[in-house]
Amino acid sequence: MDCNRCEAEAVMHAAYSGAHLCADHFRESVDKRVRRRVRRDDLVPHDISPEDPLTWVIGLSGGKDSVVLAKILHETFAEDPRIELVGLTIHEGIEGYRDKSVDACVELADDLDIRHEVVSYAEEFGIEMDDVVEDDPENMAACAYCGVFRRDLLSRYADELEADLLLTGHNLDDEAQTALMNFLEGDVEQIAKHFDASLGPLSERDEQDEFVPRAKPLRDVPEKEVALYAHLEDLPAHITECPHASEAYRGEIQQLLYGLEENHPGTRHSIISGYEELAGVLADEYSGDDGADLRECGECGSTTTREICRKCSLLESLA
């Protein structure tokens, strides 16, 4: 089967668009979607200059998604003196897993010649996820602890690195799952928050002085295509799944979406398209509500809605 755009052999078929593409045209198509998303989300303001460049911190886990994101952003902005890319890797303390993916991150950052910072739960919190899973004082899934700690470190270090933007490698499948989960949980306020936190164009989001704005430029690209891109580019992506991964509900939604996508190609795109529009409407509706009850955590001083932030209360129960 030939590529739709040239005579080379196709390496993929996208049922949602009908396209058959060769390796070169497939890579070009992914690059274009990421750059289009950067433009649509207004991530590069018109008034920046090389004298006062922006710092973009990429959450670099070493998995395929963040590695592909870093590679494409680097290709796009390496020659642009207005934007400096920094990779931020978090070591959770998971033996046989994170050590190797940190190696992948170091290798990639070296290849791309970008600044790279590694921070660990051990140094920051005095814990390791392998032990947290053993103790499990709150009777929760591993990801529930890990997510709280990871978000805390990403925010804190994005702040310390004076980031203007924190970018993560969430792909179309991740975002369609999250959208569907928010719908099914009836969490309307969460949908509004999602717009201001990462989905909306920067120029349309409610100002949130307490947090570094986030962006997800890979979110138009299906997970399968991100993996194919990493494979074709021979990127140093780490290829082992976290041994503690246990998001049961997300897994159920993922299987549901595979079935829907198979029978109705384009379902993930339409979920996200409708969800983003709805989130924008809801963000307007809830505008002004946010931030009213934000305060400083009594323990660590981070911004929270509680007296003691979730991270500090988890650390206390782990002590």
Binding site: V11, H13, G63, G169, H170, A227, L228, H231, Y258
Partner: protein, 87 residues
Amino acid sequence: MRVTVDVKGEATHEIDTDELPGDSTSAAGQSASSDGTSNPESTYADLLTAVDLSPHEVSVLVDGRPVPEDQPVDADHVTVLRLIKGG
């Protein structure tokens, strides 16, 4: 045709494509069944269905090269790589 489907890190399956039901939504299925006489040609997607995997969670490689899943099976050995979750 007998095809070896090697799901990396998991099991290896031997599939007889003549016993596959075929996929009427695939390009191959449409062309083969348009005259209404022959069984649709099996595609790589049909192989995946036979081993209970979705095309959206794997890549299919033939001789190390990715192939579009809607294409007719044209190899007696295919490698299937599962997507690794996590960014």
